[in-house]
């Protein structure tokens, strides 16, 4: 969960450029590039960090059912509270007119 705050731009461009002239933005010399492919540096702006969870399907499925039970119950409880609040507010602050 902590990694989510470290995410960076969604850029993932592999560009071979170690041996090229950087004085200006020029097309890369392909022959030169091929010759140096093995030594070229991959400039990669990291993709967004992934929040990693368990990959155990059984565990995830059983957890998802628990989340379903608690989640649906939670939403109904929220809505029931809001329902009660609306009724209460209507009683305490009735429309005058």
């Amino acid at each position: 969960m902590t990694s989510q705050h470290n995410q960076t731009a969604p850029v993932s461009q592999n560009v071979n450029h170690t041996c090229c002239n950087h004085d200006s933005i020029q097309p890369v010399d392909s022959a030169h590039q091929h010759a140096n492919q093995t030594t070229s540096t991959t400039v990669e702006t990291p993709a967004p960090a992934k929040v990693k969870g368990s990959t155990d399907v059984d565990h995830n499925l059983s957890a998802s059912f628990q989340v379903m039970g608690i989640g649906m119950l939670g939403i109904f409880i929220f809505m029931a509270i809001f329902f009660g609040m609306i009724k209460l507010m209507e009683k305490v602050f009735p429309h005058k007119g």
């Binding site: 969960m1 989510q4 995410q7 960076t8 731009a9 969604p10 850029v11 993932s12 461009q13 560009v15 450029h17 002239n21 950087h22 200006s24 933005i25 097309p27 890369v28 010399d29 392909s30 022959a31 030169h32 400039v43 702006t45 993709a47 967004p48 960090a49 992934k50 929040v51 990693k52 969870g53 368990s54 990959t55 399907v57 995830n60 499925l61 957890a63 998802s64 059912f65 628990q66 989340v67 379903m68 608690i70 989640g71 649906m72 939670g74 939403i75 109904f76 929220f78 809505m79 029931a80 509270i81 809001f82 329902f83 609040m85 609306i86 507010m89 209507e90 602050f93 429309h95 005058k96």
Partner: protein, 386 residues
């Protein structure tokens, strides 16, 4: 001069892959759907154009060479860092949406709030199915939240739990929201009888006035209650309710209009094109994407199923004069006001004298609250079980 060949003259052209071309076709399709079919054009058009923008090799939208020869972030990467990674864009959209929502229909029929809960069932059913498909629980939750039928909530949750899936999840969420008139009717017809679809909800068509104090207090109280019960939902609920408070307070009309128009428009443009920065070929042209699109449809279908079935269940216990038209349960998804309109039209098709618009709108507003609450609960629950 000997080194000048095709690749060096046209590096972008020579670096094109079939995946890039697929993504450009996807972008063009989104633009087509936005313009020709008017499917959520405010989001799909920027996303479509952005998809083209980021799939041209060596394009400077994502990364560019600075004069010193170093690679620096491009404009879209900067937007992503500033607006999506920090969650600022989705939250600003919530302020705008809050300023657009009128909760008064809900106050006239508060029991319809419960359908806004039942129709979130698709979210959780999809989470379960996604785990079976091999996604981990964080990814599954991000896919399931497509069923919230609420773009900003989907973006907010996906950005927290599975930022690598943000592109396909956003595309699926907004596409299916636009396709509600196509998705919901067959599902509703399949699980309801003609007799049920003709049920009239006379009691729900009242137009009793609501006091101003109540309208002002509601967003404040909801924020406090949501914050106390589920603090993880506070950003989502709080920004939505802040927008609504601006609307209802009556002394910030200019700000309210500004949030509904200028803020919504500006952030929508930035949100759409920035999300597109995640739609690069290497991250989008994958089997996962197709699975997410399929699971998103599943979520919408089971949201509709959940809402309708809950209405049918309620009817078992309701006296005859209080029966609910089960179609109204389907409006518990958040796609506002599309879903309400669809249900009203379906009711009219069954019986010209049946006016379901008011209860449908009330339920739909309840669905907007329900989807945000569902998003908040998922943010709180998933880390506990993953």
């Amino acid at each position: 001069m000997g080194n000048l060949d095709f690749a060096s003259l046209f590096p972008a052209l020579s670096a094109f892959t079939w995946q890039n071309l697929v993504m450009i076709a996807v972008g063009a399709t989104l633009i087509y759907l936005a313009i020709k079919k008017e499917y959520e054009p405010t989001l799909l058009l920027p996303m479509g154009f952005g998809a083209i923008l980021v799939n041209i090799p060596f394009g400077s939208a994502l990364a560019q060479l600075d004069p010193s020869g170093k690679w620096a972030e491009g404009a879209l990467s900067v937007f992503f860092e500033a607006g999506i990674a920090t969650e600022v864009f989705p939250l600003l959209i919530f302020v705008a949406i809050g300023a657009m929502i009128d909760f008064s229909p809900l106050f006239r029929n508060p029991f319809l709030l419960l359908f806004g809960a039942a129709a979130q069932f698709g979210i959780f059913a999809t989470i379960a199915l996604a785990t079976v498909c091999g996604f981990d629980l964080y990814q599954a939750a991000s896919i399931g939240i497509i069923g919230a039928a609420d773009g900003p909530t989907s973006i907010f949750v996906a950005n927290k739990f599975a930022p690598d899936l943000l592109g396909p999840i956003s595309v699926a969420a907004y596409s299916y929201m636009a396709l509600v008139p196509i998705i919901q009717p067959p599902v509703i017809r399949a699980i309801t009888s003609k007799k049920e679809r003709r049920i009239k909800m006379a009691g729900a068509n009242n137009s009793k006035p609501v006091s101003r104090t109540t309208m002002i207090l509601f967003p404040i109280v909801v924020t406090v209650v949501a914050g106390i019960i589920a603090p993880a939902s506070l950003a989502l609920v709080g920004f939505l309710m802040f927008g609504n408070l601006i609307r209802e307070c009556g002394v910030l009309n200019k700000l309210s209009l500004g949030a509904q128009n200028e803020l919504a428009n500006l952030v929508t443009i930035l949100l759409g094109i920035t999300i597109a920065s995640t739609m690069t070929a290497e991250r989008f042209v994958r089997l996962d994407t197709l699975m997410i699109i399929g699971l998103g449809l599943f979520a919408f279908v089971f949201d509709t199923f959940g809402g309708v079935m809950f209405a049918k269940l309620m009817n078992v216990f309701m006296p005859k004069h209080m029966k609910v038209n089960p179609m109204v349960g389907a409006c518990g998804i958040s796609a506002f006001p599309m879903s309400a309109r669809v249900i009203h039209n379906m009711g009219q098709k069954e019986d010209k004298t049946n006016f379901l618009l008011m209860p449908a709108i009330s339920t739909n507003v309840g669905g907007q609250i329900g989807s945000v609450v569902a998003g908040g609960l998922i943010l709180a629950l998933i880390p506990l079980f993953a």
